[in-house]
Symmetry: C2
Subunit: 315 residues, 2 copies
């Protein structure tokens, strides 16, 4: 496995470099790609960037002013990509990747050289260090890109993956000119009209069972079509139900097909989402698990709510 020094040496010796982000791109993979692009361009290299899905409109600023070249790439680098399947439509390129830079402990090797650091809260923390080892100055634009990845991957420093190093890097990025408050407003505080429509239903239709210790939300295909909500609006909704005071198990039932419901379950200690989902052939972690139930909505709901009731009896 390569380390940071090796990754820096390789990149410095290469030219005509194609950088790949994972499909359904988030702030971290795009923050890495845009920061690394800017750094390699500063070193005088020709750079390209590709992603199977479009860059979300609210992250377009990451790439503002970057001039990508038109050439046949000689080297391919992936950033924040844990598995070549996550390249989406670009998966065929996965066979030809020269260097993978990633922070997922679950990384499944596919590149000739890999540099994985699973202590990094965001892959952007790795790029922060890499860029400096390559002797590139952290410009305000690079600082914006790296701050975006770090902030989005840690829930704005809210989660346990925000380490002391994460905060120290954030401090340096602010000093380099990162526009933190503006970035955070764009990433966390701007809701699409579809999101507002969805939230109206989330808070309006949430049902409580078992003395308020179990909260249930049903997302039918009709509802999702009516609100216009897509994947980005749905992200996080399954954790909303766990956030209500007194709730030990929160779950969403999302319609996937005729009489087919995907259950996303989140629990608070001591309740185990995993134990309940296992009874329906599902799996996951103790506090975040899932399963699929084949039944009409009311029946699917009755089954899973009853199983939650059984589990809650212990507390």
């Amino acid at each position: 496995m390569a380390d940071m020094k090796r990754a820096a040496d390789l990149l410095q010796s290469w030219d005509r470099i194609l950088i790949l982000s994972h499909r359904s791109p988030d702030g971290d993979t795009l923050g890495c790609a845009s920061a690394l692009s800017r750094a390699l361009l500063a070193l005088g290299k020709s750079v390209q960037f590709r992603c199977a899905d479009p860059v979300p409109k609210n992250m377009a600023y990451l790439f503002a002013g970057i001039e990508y070249g038109d050439f046949e790439p000689e080297r391919i680098v992936t950033v924040d990509v844990a598995d070549k399947a996550l390249l989406g439509a670009l998966e065929p390129l996965g066979e030809r990747v020269d260097l993978a830079i990633d922070h997922h402990g679950t990384h499944r090797p596919f590149a000739r050289e890999i540099w994985v650091d699973d202590t990094a809260g965001a892959a952007c923390q790795m790029i922060y260090k890499l860029v400096q080892v390559m002797g590139v100055e952290i410009t305000p634009e690079i600082a914006d890109c790296l701050y975006t990845g770090i902030s989005t991957d840690t829930g704005c420093f809210r989660y346990s993956n925000a380490s002391p190093e994460t905060h120290r890097i954030a401090a340096s990025l602010l000093e380099c000119g990162a526009r933190a408050a503006e970035i955070n407003r764009a990433m966390f505080e701007t809701k699409s009209r579809a999101a507002v429509e969805l939230l109206k239903h989330v808070y309006g239709d949430m049902e409580f069972y078992h003395d308020g210790r179990c909260a249930v939300l049903c997302l039918t295909r009709a509802l999702l079509e009516e609100t216009g909500a897509g994947e980005s609006e749905l992200t996080g909704v399954s954790s909303f139900v766990r956030q209500v005071e007194g709730v030990l198990i929160g779950l969403t039932l999302q319609e996937r097909g005729e009489n087919e419901y995907k259950v996303s379950m989140r629990s608070n200690a001591p309740a185990s989402a995993q134990a309940v989902c296992a009874r329906f052939g599902g799996g996951g972690h103790k506090f975040a698990a899932g399963c699929t139930i084949h039944a009409p909505l009311e029946e699917a709901k009755a089954q899973i709510v009853a199983a939650c009731g059984e589990a809650l009896k212990a507390f």
Copy 2:
């Protein structure tokens, strides 16, 4: 004006100290009070704590294990109190305050000695440094208290008051054992049933005008009674309306009396909330202002929405 060294010298020379927080206490004033209590107790002093309003249930952990004494106080210290009126029912004690420690640029002096640092994102940043100057070790409990104040006053590092120093202090507090992820979950991700009821109305009843560039929310007394929402649930609601994509002016109309509505207006650049509110005799900052309208709800709404429309014509 005192500085940190002076504040430390005074506290070290005193005993039988009463610490006061501001009314409607937040994470910062309570984080300061609890951390300073623990530090002074570690120095062998007798300490008391008072606040005009009760400590919110979700912040009770700040004071867990602290043993306050029963004595006649000789010295009084306020933390995060910008004005003696903010002592609420304890305002009479404001005349007798020996030391005020605060980070508000708007601090109105009332104490014999004051130490104000308006570069601190939270008053807890000041207490972090003070405790160390006094030679007290930052225990995991003190780290929890200080982290709570810093995280809550900066919106979990989201706002522009989170400086490089804020992040570096957070890094140190994590190393001292602050349970950041748990604290942030309790502070930011747990919603009361009343909050859920309120959010249902917020997202369900929000109205859009002027091509979606103006969003309006009406909070009648009947609604607030029905949902059971109090001040803590209402905090932040007035900024929600500005967070919708495309909205330049977001406002809430809150019923205060018979035909009396308090308008809280937030705007995004280039719109000026201040300019609109000034037309109704109100004031504030460019992006956050307020005014009061005396009229029945529909008329009050029509007046303010029309004024917003005038202002939006310029963009």
